[in-house]
Amino acid sequence: MDMVIQDDFPILQRQVNGHRLIYLDNAATTQKPAVVIDAMNDYYTKHNANVHRAVHTLAGEATEGYEACRTSLKSWFNAERCILTSGTTEAINLAAHAWGHPQLKGRAIVLTEMEHHSDIVPWQMLAETFGNELRYVPVKPDLTLDMEALEASVEGAGLVCVVHTSNVLGVRNPIEDIIRIAHANGAKVLLDAAQGAPHCQINMAELGADMMALSAHKMCGPTGIGCLLVNEETFQEMKPFMGGGDMIETVTLEGSTYQTNEHRFEAGTPKIAEAIGWNAALSYLGELDLEKQHHRLLEIARHVANELRSMGMTVYGRHDDGDSSVVSFLHPTLHSEDFAHLLDACGVAVRTGHHCAQPLLHRLGISGTLRASFYIYNTMQDAEEFLTHVRAILERFA
């Protein structure tokens, strides 16, 4: 089974520095199966045209392909509205401008220290313009959110922004509780699902989340596309953000009127090939047993975390049942960048640095970690080879 999945990803045939590529940088971006690459090729070699408002066959096919992605996303996440963006970051910026500007006037915004910069900076920018108070929920020493602090800070707030699953720790937050608390206090909830969506099938309606942002490239889809999922009530409260192209109904010199469906928020020629690629990625993931994969990968992460600890490293993560298979670690003396560089010399791709989560690292008292993150095509063999390289490096260089 494992071998079968690996065979679907052409890049895994690649050699890096004379070694088989062991790609463990999946929290940054995932690899693409051949079916995704082929779907985009098929689009560009047979159907490419601009979408909407056109009569000719190619334009019809392109429109159907583009809109099919939206339909698939809505049903995959059980979401009422799906606005296609260029990624999670643009989705959150869209939420801040289109929903936040009109709706958050004078109201506080609750964030957490575990957020990715993409779920912090847009709100800081909003607050700079409109003077909103930003309240940060601390991360406790056990790497979970301080839920009492969250409960206290939600009072009078208009929005709670929380990362579904941390890209540094792999910790999956208790979003059910958070949504319950927020709603009980009249605040809406935006989930940053960039890391959650690749690892489990999130049911937005069941959770009751109001907005949810994610990126295709972290779930076997192409670069350049993501979405903001929104429930109907929130959708109706949103004002247009970027103007131009297909989002209008009429334009006169005096002013413009806008479309009423999701196109209202998709200005300009959309990400057509990307949508078609993403849809293929969803079909691909849909054929796997994602839950089984999740457990398999979590076992790998636990094993790796334990081994690294036994070599004297600090691991930042707990790897509970719902957590993602991310292992952040530090060696007491070997510099992370050097470590990553030496791993690269062995064909292993890991990431180092602040992972765009400086406030979290600040709370942990560090400036960066090494991060090995696993995805569906990674095997226990990858993990063992990675550990073997780690041991050899420590022996020679630490």
């Binding site: 408002r53 056109a54 009569v55 000719h56 066959t57 334009a59 019809g60 096919e61 429109t63």
Partner: protein, 136 residues
């Protein structure tokens, strides 16, 4: 499914035409089959949403029989209206309501149309059926 005779004949006619352009020519010709809805009566209620051109339709019930009035600035769209007119105008309400868009597939007309036009046809069909449903 069995169709009212006029419609069954029309389906057969269309099926016998091999050439796409001829089929479209036939649709154009059927534009004259509509009971015209005068442009003065075109309004937001009669408008078919999702059509790229202006297309309007109104249904009435006269002694339990369906009456269809329609018009469009596109002759192709009005031709599709003509087909729908042949299919249900003058038919008893329950016969009209039993119709599904399948008949247009059988005719081979939907795949002679670009996706935008065939969506337009579906919107037209749905609008008529929804209004008839409410009159039941």
């Amino acid at each position: 499914m069995t169709y009212p005779q006029q419609l069954a004949e029309l389906i057969e006619d269309f099926q016998s035409i091999e050439d796409r352009m001829e089929r479209l020519e036939y649709v154009f010709d059927l534009a004259s089959e509509v009971n015209e809805l005068p442009t003065e009566q075109w309004n937001d209620i009669t408008r078919i949403q999702g059509c790229q051109s202006e297309a309007h339709i109104r249904v009435d019930i006269d002694e339990n029989n369906v009456n269809l009035f329609s018009g469009a600035d596109s002759k192709l769209v009005q031709g599709l209206m003509g087909i729908l007119t042949i299919a249900i105008d003058g038919q008893p309400l329950d016969i009209a309501l039993s119709l599904t868009p399948e008949f247009a597939v059988e005719m081979g007309i939907l795949n002679s149309l670009s996706p935008s036009r065939s969506n337009g046809f579906r919107n037209m069909f749905d609008k008529v059926m929804n209004e008839l449903q409410e009159m039941k």
